[in-house]
Amino acid sequence: MSNPIRLEVNCETGEVTEIELTDAEVAELEAQRVAYEAEQTRLATEAEAKAAQKTAVLSALAEAAGLDVAEVTAVLGF
């Protein structure tokens, strides 16, 4: 048995069967993994960009108000 298996539990009989995935199912699994990792990378990049933008805005506000970033953060409540 070379491919991964799935576990099938027949709830009427209680029988548990190990069923080897077909090559097509394995390929689909791999495609899902690649897509998922790409999405995770995209989300992480997006989160980093938002954080950087937030930091830049806070810095600009602090400079304009004559405060430091911690004070601006405290005033804004986050």
């Binding site: 048995m1 991964p4 298996i5 799935r6 576990l7 099938e8 539990v9 027949n10 709830c11 009427e12 009989t13 209680g14 548990v16 190990e18 995935l21 199912e25 699994l29 791999e30 495609a31 899902q32 993994r33 690649v34 897509a35 998922y36 990792e37 995770q40």
Partner: protein, 166 residues
Amino acid sequence: MAQVLISTVTVGAGGAASIDFTSIPQTYTDLLIVLSGRCNDGASVQDGVRMSINGVTTNRSFKQLVGVGTAATVNGGTDDYLGNVTGGTATANSHASMNLYFPNYASTTLNKPFSQEIVPETNSSAINMFVTAGLWSSTAAITSLSFYITGFSWVQYSTASIYGIK
């Protein structure tokens, strides 16, 4: 009310791409699924767990409250996503914990709402927890359920149990 164990399964040494409950008896009022699981993704602390109902992932919708650290967010969608399970970089030997409840699963006249909570466990404040309100917009009776992880497999000692509620 009585809770009756219908079936339980533990993943063996080779892992399993999915855990499938088939031929679910139609003799109970509700279904409860309890799952303890971890996936084999060696690059992540947590990964998405998904569910198909009667072999399909369509006609679904969900809203969920997601807690991470001291923050909370909301999430929603129309796919088969349930939340996250523990990934390969999480604390060794820790598994996610999930409960999922289907009332009136055997009805042939009602749509199938479900409630679910899952916590992928690790020693980190960056781990998420999920509380989900979901719906399968189908009047078909639920006869099979499959649980799987996007692109990965359940590791050994992951367990899933299905209970009937009378």
